[in-house]
Symmetry: C2
Subunit: 382 residues, 2 copies
């Protein structure tokens, strides 16, 4: 009986926040950048469920999920690290861990959350349960391109020094650090492939990109597309493309060109160019539908009202449409049947069928930017 009363008390307590039984596999959060809030959404119902406020400066914010898809760790530009509980729909914990931050990652076992900082430069690592600081890794540089890799590792790169470091937490919270020098001049972003093997940095200060094979015992910088860049033609660059937006279609990567109205196709094995597709504007994100058959591309200002869909077999644009002003981000449902699109200046998230291209729903949101579905919890490098 005592157990029942306790159970009842717990149930009553829950009603204060949210008491329905909640499965979390088809949920997501949309960053509302202007208001420092996130919108909890349900993919199956194509609906907003709740707004959670008080997350600070969310311009350029991103987030990762705990393995149980219950908690989101939101990385704000102001150095705020906020742990959001998508079951009770409340902020579980919040710390301001630096003055100016840019993204983060969660270890493959879900126990460590790392944040990449501009001010002060470096990476700070937190206990995912408590948000207590467990490791501080100063780098003497603005730190970018932070990703997780298998085996409780984090990989990140220094804008000022052109070094990439691998911090290996396999043995606890005192990391073993491997430093790779000569990655190139002013790396500005990086990605890791979905299998956690290849880490690729984009360079601001020179043409080309630099890759590392993390399966190598002693990874060495590999130059990629050395003749490619914004250098020679001196195109104006409205917005550096997000490297996280690289599409991996199986045999090839699709890379948004810097400063050109093109996407580039790169052989995933040899990292050599295999083709180019002319696009409507300067691409920002080039994202593959999960089955790899289509790549959806959005564009930099002032052409950011448009999306083009490219067939990955023919490499041709097969569909073009204008969702509305300021298309900032796209997120596919995990099996790719639908895509959600943030249209910031329409204050709307739009949901489309990826086979018929039919618009299925408009969901009001306050200046929406990044959309993050909980299925990301199960993937490396997101």
């Amino acid at each position: 009986m005592k157990q029942f009363v306790l159970g009842l008390a717990a149930a009553l307590l829950m009603t204060a926040a949210h008491a329905e039984p909640t499965a979390t596999g088809d949920l997501g959060l949309v960053i509302e950048r202007a208001t420092g809030s996130v919108l909890l959404v349900d993919q199956s119902d194509r609906a907003a469920l709740a707004r959670i406020e008080g997350l600070g400066d969310l311009s350029h914010a991103s987030l990762v999920y705990s393995p149980d898809e219950r908690f989101a760790f939101v990385f704000g530009r102001d150095g705020g690290l906020t742990k959001v509980d998508v079951v009770t729909r409340q902020i579980a914990k919040r710390v301001v861990q630096a003055g100016n931050a840019i993204g983060g990652a969660i270890s493959d076992d879900g126990t460590l959350v790392a944040v990449s900082n501009y001010e002060p430069g470096g990476v700070r690592v937190f206990d995912a349960d408590t948000l207590d600081l467990v490791a501080d890794i100063p780098t003497g540089s603005k730190t970018i391109g932070l990703v997780d890799a298998p085996g409780r590792r984090f990989v990140f790169t220094m804008w000022d020094t052109g070094e990439t470091w691998i911090a290996d937490f396999a043995r606890g919270t005192d990391p073993q650090i491997t430093k790779i020098t000569d990655m190139g001049k002013n790396p500005y972003d990086a990605l890791i492939t979905a299998n956690g093997r290849t880490y690729i940095t984009g360079l601001f200060g020179q043409d080309g990109l630099t890759a590392l094979d993390l399966w190598d015992e002693t990874p060495e910088p590999i130059r990629v597309l050395p003749g490619y860049g914004r250098g020679q033609q001196e195109m104006p660059v409205y917005k550096m493309p997000h490297l996280e937006g690289w599409a991996h279609t199986g045999a090839e990567f699709v890379l948004p060109a810097v400063g050109h109205h093109q996407v580039l196709w790169v052989d995933a094995d040899t990292l050599t160019e295999t083709g180019r597709t002319q696009t409507y504007g300067q691409p920002v994100f080039a994202m593959a539908r999960p089955d790899g058959r289509q790549v959806w591309v959005n564009f930099a200002h002032p052409l950011n009202d448009t999306i083009q869909v490219i067939d990955t077999v023919s490499k041709q644009v097969i569909h073009e449409f204008k969702p509305g002003p300021a298309v900032l981000h796209m997120e596919f449902t995990p099996r790719g049947h639908e895509v959600w699109i943030s249209v910031r200046d329409a204050n709307t998230v739009m949901v489309y069928d990826t086979h018929s291209f039919e618009k299925l729903r408009e969901i009001p949101a306050d200046s929406p930017s990044g959309i993050f579905f909980t299925a990301r919890a199960h993937r490396t490098g997101l």
Copy 2:
């Protein structure tokens, strides 16, 4: 106030079953074949949470998950289709839909559940909410190798006639059916690649395998490894390997050889053989760790107490151990840091670290066989 009272009533109702707020991203179900029950497990806690009973004959059972990771659809050998609610930890619905069944699949949008039947032959398709029959597709043959493909499609193959059918439900519940003949003699199982592009059948009645490119407008049978099989050397076959157990390591598939103590490496692009690795016994499952760096192999009776781990770069066995009698199945955590192993005759599920190979936990279970983590909800063809 009325809403609060209703909310309270709902909360009280829940305590009858299970009232804790539940995130479902790190849960799983283990088939207990002898007792017709499933064991609900938690990956993060490495623990069993509850046993759900009354699922009928679960020999050779498998299951798929709804997109929200709340419901499992369990396909029993006796034709039973049971919908299990992992949040309330109860059977939500159960129908006996045929006399003898072999596996099933869920459409990419989560609305249709299909079951493949021996008796009577054919495929039956059910509404995922209600389990009402929405389409009956008689095939005049034992039907095997049923998988989902993008765009509300199911693909399945006929043992007796050697045909593969694609049932396309894009336009509702009245499928458009494409029939491909001449897939080979007595196909016994099939798989679809993770991107939903390539469907491959194993053949019992002749050497080799047969593939289909589902991205082709009119898919034609493609012969794979025509010189490979059990035919010429007439090896005794203790157990046909599961094709679902094919490992895809990025550039290559790893195929458990039929009747030989080998796994075969096949180029994923050209479907030609690239190598062989000698193994301890006749492989049953050859499963890639999610990052593709390792392949874990178990073996047919009487060598089924052992697991070998193969490095996919060197193609060499790097680790071998004996978890115990009758190792039936393995399931990796979605990001691959741990693996769960069913050891049937030890009545135990064992959890190992895939980097250190250390055993982390033993969990009692009643004759455990298949282990299915909820992250499968987000993947094609599982």
